[in-house]
C-alpha cells in the first residue's frame, strides 16, 4: 500500500510540474475587457455606469459603444469573469430602473484583472528601463 501511494504521489508531482511548466499562459485581455473589469473592481455596476466610468477614467479616450460593451459582457459572463446580480443580490439604490442589469466582478475575474495589470506594469517597467516610458512621479 505504501508503495502504491508513493507511485501516485510521484505521478501527481510530475503531472503538476508539467501543468505549471508547460501550461498555456492566459492570453492578454483586450483593452475594452480590461477597462470593464477595472470598473467593476471598484463596485457593482450596470452597463451604463460601466460606460461612464471608463470614459471618465480614460479622459474620454475610450468610449464604449453598446455593441462592444454588451458583447464583451456576454463573453465575460460565459467565462465566469463577472456575474449578474439578480433578485436580492441587486444593489439597493435610489432611482433604480428594473430594466437595468447589474454585474459584479467574481473572485476569478478579480484574479484575472490583477494578473493583467501586473503584466502591463511589468511591460511598462521594462520600457521605462530603456527610456521608452516616462519615469514615475
Amino acid at each position: 500500500m505504501e508503495g502504491f501511494y508513493s507511485i501516485v504521489s510521484v505521478f501527481y508531482i510530475v503531472a503538476r510540474y508539467i501543468e505549471v511548466r508547460y501550461s498555456w499562459p492566459m492570453p492578454p485581455l483586450s483593452e475594452q475587457v480590461f477597462h470593464i473589469l477595472v470598473a467593476l473592481a471598484d463596485r457593482d455596476r450596470h452597463g451604463y455606469s460601466i460606460m461612464q466610468d471608463v470614459a471618465e477614467r480614460t479622459n474620454g479616450k475610450i468610449r464604449l459603444s453598446p455593441g462592444t460593451l454588451y458583447g464583451s459582457t456576454k463573453r465575460m459572463l460565459e467565462q465566469g469573469l463577472i456575474e449578474e446580480l439578480t433578485g436580492l443580490k441587486r444593489p439597493d439604490v435610489a432611482d433604480d430602473d428594473d430594466r437595468r442589469r447589474y454585474y459584479r466582478l467574481t473572485p476569478y475575474g478579480r484574479k484575472v484583472v490583477r494578473a493583467e495589470a501586473a503584466r502591463l506594469a511589468e511591460m511598462v517597467d521594462q520600457a521605462r528601463a530603456y527610456g521608452l516610458a516616462p519615469k514615475r512621479g
Binding site: 451604463y48 460606460m51 459603444s65 453598446p66 455593441g67 458583447g71
Partner: protein
C-alpha cells in the same frame, strides 16, 4: 432620462442586425447606453461610433451563435453514427456526381477557348449539291474564291484555310505518324493565338520555296526535343522533307480537331502546323476546293451581314466554276456553335440526369431528418419553453443540415476527383477538350454552392416542421405514444417523388442501352477479326506502274509470312473515315445529272480477307489485268438501286469527271453491303469496287486474315521501312477495334446515364426501405393490438406491403408519364428505337416493382415478428 427620442427608435432598427437572442437579452440596455452617450457627447461622433460598432460587433455575434450551433450539431451527429454515416454517404454521392459532371461542362463548354474573342470566328462553307459527301463533311470555297474573297471583302479582318493530314515523322531509325495541318499565312492571326516560344507561321512563309518552316505542338516539343529551350531553329523531317522549327504552341492548343479538318488525318490531335504554300497553278484552279475556311469578323459586323456579303460574292463566282461544282449556297456558320453545338446537348443531358440524382439524395436525407425529428420533439419543446423563438430553432436546425451537407460535400469532392479521372479515361475522342477536365477553383466553388443549397433544401422542411413544437405539444405527447401512428404525408410524398425521378432516369437509360445494344448488333457485313493497316505512298510513286509494282511486292511479301490465310488491298476501308466519290452513269438507268457514288479500288482477296459475302458473279482475279477491259463489283444496295428488276452482271457503268467519259466498266459481281467508312449507324450506301490492279491508288489498306496477323503486320512494317525509309504502315487496328471506336461516343453517353440511373434507383429503393422500416416502428403499437385481436402474420405482412406498394405504384405511374414527356428530347440520341419503346416502358416499371417488393418485404417480415404482449406493455 427620456429613453425614447426618435434617434433611439432609429437605433432600435440598427439592433435588428444582431441575432434575435442577443437583441432580446441586451437590447434594452444597449438603447440606454446609446441614449446616454447621445445626451452627453457630440451627436455626429456618437452616430459614427455606433454605426461602426454595429458593423463590427453584429457579425461577431452571429458568428458566435453559428459557432455554438456548429459545436452542438457536431455533438448530435456524433451521438447518432449510423444516421450520420448514411446521410453523409447519400449527400456525398449526390454532390460528388453533380460536381464531376459540372467539371466536364466547365472544361468543354464554359471555359474560354484558347483563341482571342472566339465569338467573332466563323466558318465559310460552300456545299456542292452534286457531290453529297458521306459523313456530313463540308466543303469550303475553291482556292481562287478564297484568295479573291481575302482581297476584296469588307466583313472579315482575316481569313485562313487549312488541310489536316497525316505526316510521317522520322525518329531515329524509325518513323511515327502524327497529325499535322497545312495552313495559310493568316491562320494563327485569324485565331488570335500566339506560340509560347518563337513565332507563328506568317504570310511570307506561305509561299513555295519559303515553306520549310513548322510550328510544333507542346507535346511534340517535349517528346521529340525533350522540352529543350533552344528548340527554335532545330529540324524535323516530315514526309521526307526537312522543316525548321520556328515556334512551339502552348499546351492545350490542338486546333483543328480531327472532325474539323478535312483530308482524313488518321490521328486526332494535330502536333505540327506548316505552310500550305499553294503554287500559282493551284491557286488559280477553279476545281481546287479548299477543305475549310475560317474567318474573323470585323468588329461590329454581324454574322448576318457577313452572310449577305459572302452570298453576293459567291453568286458571281459560281458562274466561273466547273459545271459539276455549281449551285451551292454559301453559309457562314458560328465557330463556337460548330465546335461545341453537338456536345452541348450531351452536356445538358448529363447535367439534368445528375441533378435528378442530387434531388433524390436530398429527399432521402430530408426523410432521414424528418424521422430523426420525431426523437427531438422533447428537446425542441424545452428550448421553446426556455424562450427560444421559432426563428432561432429554424436557424439551429438549418445549421445542422448545412453542416451535414458541407461534410458530405467534402467527401463528394473527393469522389469527384476520382470520377473526373474515370470520365477522362473513358474519353470517346469526340468531345473536344474533355482531356482538360479537372477539379479546379471554379468547380470547387460550384461544389460549395451545391452543398449550401442542398443543405438548405433538405433541411428546410424538417426545420419548419420541428420548430413548430411548443410546450403544449410536448405536454400532450407525454403519456401518449400515438397508438394509430400518424400518416406522415410529407415523407410519403418525398418517396413518391424519388421513385418518379428514378423512373425517368431509368427509362432514358433504358432507351440508350437498347440503342447501344442495337448498334453493337449491327451487321457490318465483314469479319471483326480481320486486321487492317494503312499505307500512304507519297510523291515518289507518281504513276500507276510504280504504285502497282509496290503493292504487288507488298502482297507477295505478305503471302510469305506464317499464319496468314488471306491478304487483300482496298483504297477505302469501312469505318476508316476516308472516302472517295465519282461521277457516274449506269446504262439502262434513268441517270440524274451529276450523280455520284462512293467507290474504292480493291483486290479479289480483299473480299476473302474481310469475309464479305459474294452474292452473284465472281470476284476480281488474274484475268482483270491493267490492259484488259475494266471490271466492277457492286454492292447489294447499288444493285437494288441502279439495276432494279434486271441482272446487274454484265451491266455497263460510265465514270466521268466532266471532261469526257472514260471507257465503260462491266459489272462482274455483286457483294453484300458493308458499313460505310464514316458511320456505323448509317444504312450502307450504294458502293462500287474497281479492280485495284486496273485502278491503283497511292493510299491502300492492307487487310489480313489468319492466326498471326499482328506479328505479320509488325514484320511488314519493318520490311516496308527497309525498302523505303519514307514509308510506314500506320493506323493498324482490327475491324472490331474500328467498330468499337465508332461505338465510343454512344457507349460513353450510355455508360454515364446508366450510372446515374443506377445511383438514382438505389437511392430511391433505400428511401422506400427506410420509410417502410420507420412506418413499421411507428405503428408497432397498432400492429401489436391487431395481432392480439387475432390478425395473422400474413395479414400483417399484407398490410405493410400494401402501404409500400401503393407508394411505389403511385411513383411509377407518375414517373412513366414524366418519362414519356422527357424521352422525346432524346429522339436524336436513340438508334433504331422509338422514344416510347414499349420494351423499355414495360421492363423499367416491372423491374422496379419487383425490387421494391423485396425492399418492402424486409420491414414487413419484421412487423410479423412483433410481440403483442411486449408492445402493449411499452404503451
Amino acid at each position: 432620462m427620456d429613453l425614447l427620442p426618435s434617434a433611439v427608435k432609429f437605433y432600435r432598427l440598427l439592433l435588428l442586425a444582431y441575432p434575435a437572442e442577443f437583441r432580446n437579452e441586451y437590447g434594452g440596455q444597449m438603447e440606454d447606453v446609446f441614449a446616454g452617450r447621445l445626451a452627453s457627447e457630440p451627436r455626429l461622433r456618437v452616430w459614427l461610433d455606433t454605426i461602426a460598432d454595429v458593423f463590427y460587433t453584429a457579425p461577431r455575434e452571429h458568428l458566435s451563435v453559428l459557432w455554438g450551433d456548429l459545436r452542438y450539431s457536431a455533438k448530435l451527429l456524433a451521438q447518432a453514427p449510423s444516421f450520420t454515416l448514411v446521410a453523409l454517404l447519400t449527400t456525398a454521392l449526390g454532390i460528388g456526381a453533380t460536381t464531376a459532371v459540372f467539371s466536364v461542362m466547365n472544361a468543354v463548354l464554359l471555359k474560354s477557348l484558347p483563341y482571342s474573342e472566339p465569338e467573332r470566328l466563323v466558318y465559310i462553307w460552300v456545299p456542292i449539291p452534286a457531290l453529297k459527301l458521306p459523313g456530313g463533311l463540308q466543303f469550303g470555297p475553291t482556292a481562287p474564291e478564297f484568295y479573291d474573297l481575302e482581297k476584296s471583302n469588307r466583313s472579315f479582318e482575316r481569313l485562313a484555310t487549312f488541310n489536316g493530314e497525316s505526316y510521317k515523322l522520322a525518329q531515329g531509325d524509325g518513323m511515327r505518324v502524327i497529325g499535322g495541318v497545312a495552313v495559310t499565312g493568316d491562320f494563327f492571326a485569324t485565331l488570335g493565338t500566339k506560340p509560347e516560344l518563337g513565332r507563328a507561321i506568317e504570310r511570307d512563309d506561305d509561299e513555295p520555296g519559303h515553306d520549310n518552316v513548322a510550328v510544333i505542338g507542346h507535346t511534340l516539343w517535349l517528346t521529340q526535343f525533350g522540352g529543350a529551350p533552344d528548340v527554335l531553329g532545330k529540324s524535323i523531317r516530315l514526309n521526307r522533307k526537312t522543316y525548321r522549327v520556328i515556334g512551339v504552341m502552348p499546351p492545350g492548343f490542338a486546333y483543328p480537331h480531327y472532325f474539323e479538318a478535312s483530308g482524313g488525318a488518321d490521328t486526332h490531335t494535330p502536333e505540327v502546323w506548316m505552310p500550305y504554300a499553294m503554287n500559282v497553278k493551284d491557286r488559280a484552279d477553279r476545281s481546287n476546293i479548299t477543305g475549310a475556311v475560317i474567318a474573323r469578323l470585323r468588329s461590329g459586323v454581324s454574322l448576318k451581314q457577313a452572310q449577305t456579303e459572302v452570298n453576293a460574292f459567291l453568286a458571281h463566282e459560281d458562274k466561273l466554276r466547273p459545271e459539276f461544282l455549281r449551285g451551292g449556297h454559301a453559309s457562314v456558320a458560328s465557330f463556337l456553335e460548330t465546335a461545341i453545338g453537338e456536345v452541348r446537348k450531351l452536356a445538358w443531358l448529363l447535367m439534368g440526369a445528375v441533378l435528378f440524382v442530387l434531388l433524390i439524395a436530398c429527399s432521402n436525407v430530408a426523410n432521414l431528418l424528418l424521422a430523426r425529428a420525431a426523437t427531438r420533439v422533447n428537446e425542441m419543446g424545452v428550448r421553446s419553453a426556455l424562450g427560444a423563438d421559432r426563428s432561432r430553432l429554424i436557424r439551429q436546425i438549418l445549421t445542422e443540415s448545412v453542416s451535414l451537407s458541407f461534410c458530405g460535400g467534402l467527401l463528394g469532392v473527393l469522389f469527384a476527383f476520382a470520377a473526373v479521372r474515370i470520365l477522362v479515361l473513358l474519353n470517346p475522342g469526340t468531345i473536344p477538350r474533355l482531356e482538360e477536365t479537372s477539379v479546379n477553383g471554379a468547380v470547387l466553388a460550384f461544389a460549395l454552392a451545391v452543398s449550401l443549397i442542398s443543405g438548405i433544401l433538405f433541411g428546410l422542411y424538417p426545420a419548419f416542421s420541428l420548430s413548430r413544437t411548443s410546450l403544449t405539444d410536448l405536454l400532450k405527447r407525454t403519456g401518449n405514444k400515438g397508438i394509430a401512428g400518424s400518416a406522415n404525408h410529407t415523407r410519403h410524398a418525398l418517396v413518391v417523388i424519388e421513385i418518379c425521378l428514378s423512373v425517368v432516369l431509368l427509362a432514358a437509360a433504358g432507351l440508350l442501352i437498347r440503342s447501344f445494344l442495337k448498334l453493337q448488333n449491327v451487321n457490318t457485313g465483314f469479319a471483326q477479326s480481320t486486321l487492317a493497316g494503312r499505307m500512304q505512298l507519297d510523291g515518289n510513286y507518281n504513276n500507276d506502274a510504280s504504285i502497282r509494282d509496290f503493292y504487288r511486292w507488298l502482297i507477295e511479301k505478305t503471302r510469305t509470312l506464317p499464319g496468314i490465310q488471306q491478304a487483300g488491298l482496298i483504297s477505302i476501308l469501312p469505318l476508316s473515315n476516308t472516302g472517295s466519290i465519282s461521277l457516274f452513269d449506269v446504262e439502262g438507268y434513268a441517270n440524274k445529272e451529276d450523280q455520284t457514288i462512293e467507290n474504292a479500288s480493291a483486290t479479289g482477296d480483299y473480299f476473302r480477307a474481310m469475309n464479305i459475302k459474294l452474292l452473284k458473279g465472281r470476284l476480281f482475279d488474274n484475268s482483270d489485268a491493267p490492259n484488259h477491259p475494266t471490271v466492277l463489283i457492286i454492292s447489294e444496295a447499288c444493285a437494288k438501286k441502279y439495276f432494279k428488276g434486271r441482272n446487274p452482271l454484265g451491266g455497263r457503268v460510265y465514270f466521268s469527271r466532266g471532261t469526257g467519259p472514260q471507257p465503260y466498266s462491266t459489272v462482274i459481281g455483286v457483294v453484300a453491303d458493308v458499313s460505310t467508312s464514316f458511320s456505323l449507324e448509317a444504312a450502307p450506301n450504294p458502293f462500287m469496287y474497281r479492280s485495284f490492279w486496273q485502278s491503283p491508288q497511292p493510299q491502300a489498306f492492307l487487310a489480313l486474315q489468319g492466326t498471326q496477323t499482328t506479328r505479320a503486320m509488325r514484320t511488314l512494317g519493318k520490311i516496308v521501312h527497309e525498302r523505303d525509309s519514307g514509308l510506314a504502315v500506320t493506323d493498324v487496328h482490327s475491324m472490331s477495334e474500328r467498330k468499337s471506336e465508332f461505338e465510343a461516343g454512344r457507349r460513353y453517353q450510355t455508360v454515364l446515364l446508366s450510372s446515374f440511373a443506377a445511383a438514382a434507383f438505389i437511392l430511391a429503393l433505400v428511401g422506400l426501405y427506410g420509410l417502410m422500416s420507420y412506418s413499421v416502428r411507428q405503428r408497432s403499437a397498432e400492429i401489436g393490438v391487431r395481432m392480439a385481436l387475432g390478425a395473422t402474420r400474413a395479414q400483417i405482412l399484407g398490410m405493410v406491403m400494401k402501404q409500400g406498394l401503393s407508394l411505389t405504384s403511385t411513383g411509377l405511374a407518375i414517373g412513366l408519364l414524366g418519362a414519356a414527356g422527357v424521352t422525346r428530347f432524346l429522339s436524336s440520341m436513340v438508334y433504331e428505337v422509338g422514344v416510347l419503346d414499349p420494351a423499355t416502358f414495360v421492363a423499367v416499371p416491372a423491374a422496379f416493382l419487383a425490387v421494391a417488393t423485396a425492399a418492402c418485404c424486409i420491414p414487413g417480415s419484421q412487423a410479423t415478428r412483433t410481440d403483442p404482449v411486449q408492445t402493449l406493455r411499452e404503451q
